[in-house]
Symmetry: C2
Subunit: 213 residues, 2 copies
């Protein structure tokens, strides 16, 4: 399967397909046409076919896609058939929220450790795992086959922590710190800038009010 040329836009849509197919599967639906999927997901059927053609098309026959097969294939493309160990750096509210989010485990993301520099948080329990001090970060990452680090710390310090993680073999950073990270090629970064998302919402409210006053 040739995946080299697939755009991040297509990749960005795969989790949504995966989510809808998982729901259809849970509901016992066995087959679905691109037309039906299109109506459900509110994207055009031609977009769906184009997206799927990037991965060989998943063999739609005249009577539609096999839901279970399609769900599993997209899961494999997303790497969800493998386990990924992750740690959380920053044991504040957001870090603890993510540590407690059981759904990640269902997708193969295994919560292994959580770190903070605040002495009051160290030793506290997050889903059975004690918050560790930052001094243990490097050793823990090296010794526990950690793929992904979730950064839920303020922007000050995030760049330095990212460097320390990269130097100790982390493959990917899920970055909630409000700063853009510069990492070497081959290290994957996915940013969740919550304030940016809220500002976009604010823009759309403001614009709608202007147009409709």
């Amino acid at each position: 399967m040739e995946e080299k040329e697939i755009s991040q836009a297509v990749i960005g849509r795969l989790p949504r397909y995966f989510r809808y197919l998982g729901e259809l599967r849970d509901e016992g639906v066995e087959r679905i046409s691109s037309q039906e999927l299109s109506e459900l997901m509110k994207v055009t059927a031609s977009q769906i076919r184009q997206d799927f053609n990037n991965f060989g098309g998943f063999g739609q026959q005249g009577y539609g896609y096999n839901v279970d097969y399609l769900y599993k294939e997209i899961g494999k493309i997303l790497g969800l058939d493998k386990k990924h160990n992750f740690i959380i750096v920053g044991a504040g509210n957001l870090g603890r929220a993510l540590g407690n989010y059981l759904n990640f485990e269902r997708r193969g993301f295994i919560f292994r450790g959580i770190f903070d520099q605040n002495p009051e948080l160290i030793g506290q329990d997050v889903r059975g795992i004690k918050v560790m001090p930052m001094e243990k970060l490097e050793t823990f990452v090296r010794e526990n086959d950690i793929d992904i680090a979730v950064l839920t710390i303020p922007k000050t310090g995030a760049v330095e922590i990212a460097d320390r993680l990269v130097n100790n073999g982390i493959r990917a950073i899920w970055n909630f710190a409000h700063v853009d990270l510069n990492v070497p090629d081959g290290i994957q970064v996915e940013n969740v800038h919550l304030s940016d998302s809220l500002m976009k919402l604010s823009y759309n409210i403001t614009r709608y009010m202007k147009e409709n006053q």
Copy 2:
């Protein structure tokens, strides 16, 4: 100022400009050229000029943009010069994390109330505000000039809650529930599907490993 034709892609980039300009301003930088901003933000100077031209260009002279002016203008476009009251529906870890996030207030987003159906959470304190029962949701939204509802509840129930909010005058939903909402025209929705973001990261790790094994 004509804003009708501005794409969501451009809008999506404005918060990042705003963030960088805010940092430059805090550092005391008075002027910056599109070339310098380009190097800092790692986007092309022509992209920056094109984006800014959507809003009249912000009058770059030969010697660059006025940082403070540009920061404030982009802030106004984003609607950050106005206050927006928001509530949080779902007082679990994520809801509490967002309620405690002080940065939102600096941007004009004011935390007014938090709701949950879990009797154990009702009455608990989140930054000085007591968690209220769901029965009070409608009245509270109507009586407190609430613009934005943040949904941090499981996907079951999210669609019904969104309807109740819309019927009581909410303008916008910041949706962390793992489901797509159908709302009437004029109601703004911004989705933060955390699992989708993590799956995208997983895809990129998997692909990189395949290409480099």
